[in-house]
Subunit: 317 residues, 2 copies
DNA sequence: GGATTGTTTTTTATTGATAAAAACTTTGTT
DNA sequence: AACAAAGTTTTTATCAATAAAAAACAATCC
């Protein structure tokens, strides 16, 4: 049976939406709601009737009184397939899963409280991140977030980013991307000013920035690769909060230099700034994860656990 | 219920194995068979008892008479999950599926004669090849093997191959890879001599060659990317047999030049040979597929179907 | 006549059940 | 003891069933 997370999420959103409606605005039509809530009209109707059932009855069939209708808990609004990701990560983090550990579908299913099919689906999608490997008829093996994983990741990242940055610098002055770049620069300076309170917002800005650069010469394989980076960083830093503010502040400044370099359109300057930023990002990742290294044992083929238990999943995108 | 393709494949293999046993050799133990047939001992026992049941009864409990025990049909020995790949490809080829077509799990399941779960699993794995896209709660879309797909693919391929070829050229003279390279060169010359009869053998040689080069500086992301190339070429050329012999002959000669360049260890010569080979491979692919282009309509975002119906799946590795 | 609401059909997400295959444990044999 | 065979338990692959969500169709309404 399908979970009704879609309904619950949209229900909560609908309450917000209706609550914030200007007093004079007409009540939105089902179609409009369907667009705004990003669900089918079928679901909109379900929401509407749920709302009507809970608001004061027979209030003249006009706009229902939303008042104090309770929302669904956050957790209930996340579809199972996405929860698996989180669970899986926790399994690795908390249980300190080591490279070489074999993954048991049934066990995970029981632990996560869902059917094996869900696990299977997740693992199949997650496979592409290069952290697990399939053994037909014999489950999966966790390969681990080892130092070599990180090194290999960064090697490719550097190749791709350099290629895209240079392509960006060559963009004609008329390209719309220049404006977007300037907008992003402004967001960076702004974030820098409020860094003390908003430093968490960096990770989103970071991935938007790198995606913008990639869009100068779009290539689906590069974009796919960036999903891996995004995932790794997301979970890695979620696990390791040390020096977050400081770390992000440095990165923002590097981005600003990098952006200026792009705006200068001078290839060698761009290359310099880009290389500098990536080197620093790599250093940060390797350093922050290797501190814990000594605690962990090593698996056969993994001679270099870096963030042994660390980092992981997400195959949702 | 699991299919028993593993058993059937191993059963057939076992008959061959036992049939070819030297007369004096002792009958292999269950454990030995398990290793040789690459299945668990559980399956070996099942095979053994199946064989005993069919061979002349009570022949003194020693070596059973294999004689004329019938084998299982080839088709039965392929696990369902692998069949899906083939089916899916045929669906695209035969039905001339166009970019933008939406993929319906239920429909495919019915057509392929299996449960939707199998389709789902396949699609999830196949996703990474960049030819389909998921729409949560609303199925999948076939993005098509368009010209831009091919161009993007080759852009990355060139970047990766160049990087690996240069790394290879820098390998110390003591590296074992030089010998392997020489061995591969010999296989190339040999194949060239027998090209008229053995030209199909090229595709295997090709992928072994490129994998060898990559192994100079191993990187899992590059290896993963090569799976995509292998897949595309496999199916693309399986579908398009035009000029196969001629095409392969040219490629072999290019490989030989490329190999000599590597052996020379001169980076600029390597780069030249590598670029030349890739350019020619790209040209071949684009040319052979674009011939049919005119037949096909174009989908929204795909302004350039190349081998519209062509090319595809395989998420088995 | 184009948007709105009401109704029916199709498709996706998720579960639980089960045979095949693998992994583990015990027993037997030299 | 050391390996082979027999027996048991666990795990994977696969199916069929079903509620939720989407899509398609039909009836209304300014």
């Amino acid at each position: 049976m399908k979970s009704d997370a879609v309904f619950k999420r949209a229900f909560n959103d609908a309450l917000d939406l209706i609550g914030n409606l200007p007093v004079e605005a007409p009540f939105p039509s089902e179609n409009q709601l369907s667009v705004q809530l990003m669900v089918s009209r079928t679901t909109v109707r379900k929401i509407l009737s749920a709302i009507r059932a809970q608001s004061l009855p027979a209030a003249g069939d006009s706009r229902p009184l939303i008042g104090a209708i309770p929302r669904f808990a956050e957790a209930e609004t996340i579809p199972i397939s996405e929860q698996v990701e989180k669970h899986f990560m926790e399994w690795m983090l908390r249980d300190n899963t080591r490279p070489g550990t074999s993954i048991n579908e049934l066990q995970l299913a029981r632990r996560f409280g869902l059917a094996t099919t869900g696990i299977r689906e997740f693992l199949n999608r997650f496979q592409r991140f290069g952290l697990i490997e399939r053994r037909p008829n014999a489950g999966w093996v966790f390969k681990g977030f080892t130092a070599s994983f990180a090194l290999e990741l960064f090697e490719i990242r550097e190749i791709f980013e350099l290629r895209s940055a240079l392509a960006f610098a060559m963009l004609p002055a008329t390209s719309a991307l220049w404006q977007k770049l300037e907008a992003l620069r402004d967001q960076h300076t702004q974030l820098l000013e409020e860094i003390d309170t908003r430093y968490h917002d960096f990770s989103d800005l970071d991935s938007r920035f790198h995606r913008l650069i990639n869009s100068a010469a779009p290539n689906r394989f590069i974009e796919d690769f960036f999903d891996i980076i995004t995932l790794i960083f997301h979970y890695h830093y979620q696990w390791n909060k040390r020096d977050e503010r400081q770390r992000n502040e440095v990165a923002i400044k590097e981005h600003l230099t990098y952006i200026e370099a792009l705006l200068s359109r001078n290839p060698s300057i761009v290359e310099l700034a880009c290389r500098a930023h990536l080197a620093s990002a790599k250093e940060t990742l390797m350093r922050s994860s290797s501190r814990k290294t000594s605690e962990f044992a090593r698996a056969d083929d993994a001679k270099d656990p870096v963030t042994p238990s660390a980092a992981m999943p997400s195959a949702s995108s």
